[in-house]
Amino acid sequence: MNNPREILILSGKGGTGKTTVASSLAKLINKKVIADTDVDAADMHIMLNPSLIEEHSFKGRSKAFIEQDKCNQCGLCHSKCKFNAIDKLDNKYIVNSFSCEGCTLCYEVCPTNAIVMEEEEAGKWYLSKTDFGLFVHARLNPGAENSGNLVSMVKHQAKQTAIKNNIDTILIDGPPGIGCPVIASLSGANTVILVTEPTVSGVSDLKRIIGVAQNFKPEIAIVINKFDINTDISKQIDDYANNNKIPILAHIPFDKCIVELLMEKRTPIESNDCPEINKEIKSILNYLGEKHDN
């Protein structure tokens, strides 16, 4: 079969409503595999109430350890390390595993072979069942390196799960920012929905994330959340999108009801309290549906 279509929700700036939009869509799209690639602050599981099917350890890159009995305190590792990951404490050289990137430079230069490279667990990834479909998610150990690698793993597993179960759509809740986990999420994405907000920061981040996303040539669309907290800036986003031929799928109003429902772990579409918001979210679905049926 063909590769499944990947729909990725991103935002650049954090806290603009990515997960609210993604979990609403997760509950509306008919047949899909759901994935959460915000691996160092994963939240989607809170809304989906998953039951675990599989749990896998995710190995990070090996990190350096110094065997003190072999170390002659020459300090070569300390001076050569580009990551300042080797500290000198009480006349002993010790690797700071938070800073070690596992490049093996110290291992190569140590004259007494006192350095060993040891594999470390960097996190876990899970396959779960939810009422809304199969769900691939992960948890990066706090502070672990390799978040991009774990993202690639989650995406890979979601794709395999989709192919195995004959499902042709993958819905992905992505991470904030523009760095490595975002770039790993974008690789292979077909449709990218950018959730933004009409704030100076939101617009500045929106432009940066568009710059990153365009390198991957997906179809890009925008959702403006809390559009009515600043209608002037909302208008600026509308114009910017227009000039760049990017469709705007929805203008979601600022409403306390989103937060109140979130407290009960419910999305707006599961309630009749916010009809305006539901209408807007459904127009995102229509856009995806129209494209999807082709």
């Binding site: 935002s11 806290g15 430079l105 523009i178 760095g179 920061s201």
Partner: protein
């Protein structure tokens, strides 16, 4: 003294609080969310210096024998060397700038390191009367890691001054880099299930790195989610800021929160300075 503001979740008010605190207590503001640096919108700095942050990437010279040892040893698969057609290929998006290839090369001067810019560090002042420093890291679009930028910013911080470090969201490498430099960590929390979940993750990191910590509850709506967290984990609450549409509206216009919620910010600042033991004149 360095005070880092972290949150786990994005959009909980890190930048709002960091710029508000810097403004209230005349502390240097250091934007270390190099992927999305937004502090400038709230402090209106006058940038006087902009330097490139450079990393070193390898390039072969005519001494290269195309033996391929560098490519075999590279842990990041950033190199491919082809003996037959004499090709030395660097995939610089995978390069971590560790210098291993230069070190393991058996031929003298066959690999040299050339510099590549991954972003800018801008600095200036945001308060003309008092000469308060403003510094921000700006990662180039398409670059994957901001850590070298953050390390460079850290190496130029003046320890004797009060520096507010505004972190990226999450709990991965850039956040580690910020917490490492901190003498005190402020958690900017949002009392929702998402906010709590992500705060607990980043708090684990702060604990593992053994830093003193305090909590600001932002967008407070009267529930106890974060108060319970504070009791459970024994994290002092520095103050709360209510959930309020007008705060969101002011944020959208980049109005510094200290101009409008000055009472709350003063209260938080006092608690913070008390806890850190920093004497502010």
């Amino acid at each position: 003294m360095n005070i880092a503001i972290v949150s786990g979740k994005g959009g909980t008010g890190k930048t709002t609080l960091a710029t508000g605190l810097a403004y209230t207590i005349n502390a240097n503001y250091i934007d270390m969310d190099a992927g999305e640096p937004n502090g400038r919108h709230f402090l209106d700095p006058e940038i006087s210096k902009s330097i490139d942050c450079e990393v070193m990437i390898p390039e072969n010279t005519d001494k290269c024998t195309y033996c391929g040892i560098c490519a075999n040893k590279c842990q990041f698969s950033a190199l491919a060397v082809i003996e037959k057609t004499k090709k030395f290929m660097l995939f610089d998006d995978l390069c971590h700038h560790c210098g291993l290839c230069v070190e393991v090369c058996p031929v003298k001067d066959a690999i040299k390191e050339i510099s590549k810019s991954i972003g800018k560090i801008n600095s200036g002042i945001f308060n003309k009367q008092k000469n308060i420093n403003f510094v921000e890291g700006v990662l180039k679009i398409g670059e994957t890691s901001s850590v070298p930028l953050l390390e460079q910013i850290k190496s130029n911080l003046v320890k004797e001054q009060l520096n507010i470090l505004d972190s990226a969201p999450g709990s991965a490498c850039p956040v580690v880099s910020v917490i490492e430099a901190a003498d005190f960590v402020v958690l900017a929390g949002e009392p929702t299930p998402f906010g709590l979940n992500d705060l607990e993750i980043v708090f684990e990191l702060v604990k593992a790195m053994d830093k003193p910590v305090g909590l600001i509850i932002n967008k407070y709506m009267g529930n106890d989610l974060l108060h319970d967290f504070s009791k459970r984990e024994n994290v002092p609450i520095l103050g709360t800021i209510p959930f309020d549409r007008s705060i969101a509206e002011n944020y959208s216009k980049s109005i510094n929160i200290a101009e409008l919620q000055s009472k709350e910010l003063k209260h938080i600042s006092e608690n913070l300075l008390k806890l850190t033991g920093y004497h502010y004149e």
